[in-house]
């Protein structure tokens, strides 16, 4: 009987069975950032422990960094204390820190792949729920809490129970103007925001295989929005091509040896899954969320459902969402005025996102009165965008072009919504208050849809605005 990638990787990294019945799992790579690590280092100090394998941990700063000006000390004294604390912890414990002056800083889930730290067949952990992103390379990657950050720092392991594996097969061709973001929003809408609890999601099938590595990252990134802690895609030649030559990837003979190993980690053709769900890509259209959880989405040409049309379990949440969003059942989102357009986040701030949107923004202007900001996911992305003239296209269109960070995906830095502003956002969460204002309203969509909303000043079908055929 064949094995899934999840089980192959799990078995290879299992250290021991623990007294409570869980497994002690070895974590090949640990990524940390300034928000969820300081308390973990504090716990290490309290317990008199060291970092067991400092070379397996990499740090960057992303959540709290201002994206407009980088002069230190930061105006926000709390944010300033956090970056200083991370610097001190990395220096005290011998951890590599992709700090702002390094030119390698960025959102942790964009930096890891960019540096070639994220590799197939490994286990990865990070104190951030979007760690599932790294699964796009065929790694098994877990979002963890701070006590587990402590565990991984102190032992390079953590206690876990194995997950079930659900294969999500996507087949057929995506229509023009339909992107990876639409696939994952559609999957979450269909399977529910807690449909993945207890599962690792294996995204497979011809549509997924046809996606670029960066598009696969967008899909794996939002596994957690569907309740699945882990999401992954079996690695293939595209994966290896993407990684080749990156700074932390093996070189020369080591590269060849790594390739031999990596080619073995994909799920076997006769692997047995706990569940299988099949989606037809041709049925997916550009998707926008209307509510306060990422499963509350509709195709751009659909109307917001009335709670009574939804399954009983979803009704109270839908009522709450309509009230908070000040939308009406039956209303279409197309034509809904926006105030803010946010292009960024670990879901969609990679080079390919900017390249794709720049094709349509060239020669166009952001609508009057719209606050539009574009935030590259890393200094690396920013540098290449500058070399390609992409920053210029965004700036000329009227976007505010920023420095790398999490920015307006969550309200931890100066980029925040004000009052009940409506934001067309390429990020991953539309929770109440997520973008910094308790009454702010977030509409999740693909980056090209954000660009279309920015230039029209309202939620729009990008396929029409940009004549995508």
């Amino acid at each position: 009987m064949g094995k899934t990638l999840f089980h192959k990787v799990w078995d290879r990294h299992a250290v021991a069975k623990l007294p409570d019945g869980s497994t002690q799992l070895f974590i090949g790579t640990h990524l940390i950032h300034e928000v969820t690590s300081p308390q973990a280092f504090g716990m290490l100090r309290d317990l008199g422990l060291k970092v067991a394998f400092p070379k397996r941990t990499f740090a960057t700063v992303d959540h709290i960094v201002p994206t407009d000006q980088r002069v230190e000390p930061f105006k926000d004294t709390l944010a300033d204390a956090m970056i200083k604390e991370l610097r001190k912890n990395c220096s005290d414990f011998g951890v590599t820190f992709f700090d702002i002056p390094s030119g390698k800083q960025g959102i942790v889930h964009i930096v890891g792949p960019e540096q070639g730290i994220t590799q197939p067949g490994t286990t990865i952990a990070c104190g951030d729920s979007h760690t599932s992103t790294h699964g796009a390379f065929g790694a098994v990657a877990f979002g963890i809490g701070t006590s587990q950050v402590r565990d991984v720092l102190a032992t390079q392991t953590m206690a876990l129970s194995p997950l079930k594996v659900r294969k999500i097969e996507v087949r057929d061709k995506l229509g023009p103007g339909v992107y990876a973001k639409d696939i994952i929003l559609h999957i979450i809408r269909t399977l529910g925001v807690n449909g993945g609890t207890g599962y690792a999601y294996e995204y497979a099938g011809p549509t997924i295989e046809g996606l670029s590595i960066e598009e696969r990252m967008t899909i794996c990134n939002m596994s957690i929005e569907g309740g699945a802690r882990v999401g992954y895609v079996n690695p293939d030649e595209k994966t290896f091509e993407y990684l080749k030559g990156r700074p932390y990837c093996p070189k020369g003979k080591d590269w060849d040896a790594a390739l031999t190993e990596w080619r073995k980690v994909a799920s076997d053709p006769d692997a047995v899954y706990d569940d299988v769900k099949v989606f037809e890509a041709s049925e997916i259209r550009p998707t926008v969320t209307w509510g306060i959880n990422p499963g509350q989405g509709i195709f751009i040409d659909e109307a917001i459902p009335s709670p009574e049309q939804l399954p009983v379990a979803d009704r109270s949440s839908a009522k709450e969402a309509l009230e908070f969003m000040k939308f009406k059942a039956g209303q279409k989102l197309a034509g809904q005025k926006i105030q803010v357009a946010f292009f960024g986040s670990c879901t969609n701030a990679r080079l390919s996102d900017f390249v794709e949107a720049s094709r349509f923004l060239k020669g166009r202007k952001v609508a009057k009165g719209i606050r539009a900001i574009a935030v590259p996911g890393s200094q690396g992305v920013s540098k290449i965008c500058a070399e390609m003239g992409i920053d210029k296209i965004f700036r000329e269109a009227g976007f505010d072009w920023r420095e790398a960070g999490c920015s307006m995906c969550l309200g931890m830095n100066p980029d925040q919504l004000v009052g009940d502003e409506i934001c067309a956002s390429s990020s991953n969460r539309n929770f109440k208050g997520r973008q910094g204002s308790p009454t702010g309203r977030t509409l999740l969509m693909s980056p090209v849809m954000v660009a279309a909303a920015a230039v029209t000043g309202e939620v729009s079908d990008a396929r029409k605005v940009f004549a995508q055929t």
Partner: protein, 196 residues
């Protein structure tokens, strides 16, 4: 780390109704600009307890009849979203000792267990009955029996579920895994030598 076993949680409860109560709602990200968990309790559910102008919304947690509650009752998918341990830390630091809900997001559940905050899952109808009882009789004492996975309150009594390893950990005082993990360090080093 030697910890006291947690076999029972007894106390008054407060219903925080609704499904999909996410960790941003439990503790908004802007209150995570900190390097310790100290003082997080005061920001628990901040944005739904106050209007943007700072006026109380009379959230159940702030209602006099629920004052001093140690058990939170909520709906489905409690703790979804971000992996922030700040969420269960805020709950614990606000004085809560357990959560009863329809079910829990996975990372939140694990984070809570590690802190010794039991999260038990109840069937929808039982949860509904408990919520109604507590709203009517806020002084009712609620008991969560972790050994027998049972909740009782007044005349109500119903079964709850919990992942076996979490239950085992809480009952044996090994819910924080660090000591067990450290004990295996030699094995870890051996395995590490063979892994990229």
């Amino acid at each position: 780390m030697s910890l006291s076993p947690i076999k029972k949680v007894t106390g008054r409860a407060v219903p925080v109704e609704g499904d999909d109560i996410d960790t941003d709602r439990i503790i908004p990200a802007r209150y995570m600009r900190c390097v310790t968990f100290d003082g997080l309790g005061e920001f628990l559910f901040h944005d739904i307890r106050q209007t943007p102008e700072g006026k109380s919304t009379k959230h159940p947690i702030d209602q006099a009849q629920f004052n001093g509650s140690t058990i939170l009752i909520s709906g489905m998918n409690f703790g979804c979203g971000s992996s922030r341990e700040h969420a269960p830390q805020a709950i614990v630091r606000a004085g809560f000792k357990a959560v009863i809900a329809g079910n829990f997001a996975e990372i939140f559940f694990g984070n809570s267990t590690t802190l010794g905050l039991p999260c038990v899952t109840a069937k929808k109808e039982d949860l509904e009955a408990l919520t109604q009882l507590i709203k009517k009789e806020p002084s009712t004492e609620v008991q969560i029996d972790l050994e027998n996975l049972k909740v009782s309150a007044g005349k109500l009594s119903f079964p709850v579920t919990m992942k076996a390893s979490a239950q085992q950990g809480l009952l044996s005082g090994r819910y924080d895994a660090i000591a067990d993990l450290l004990a295996n360090l030699p094995k870890v080093k051996e395995l590490a030598a063979h892994l990229p």
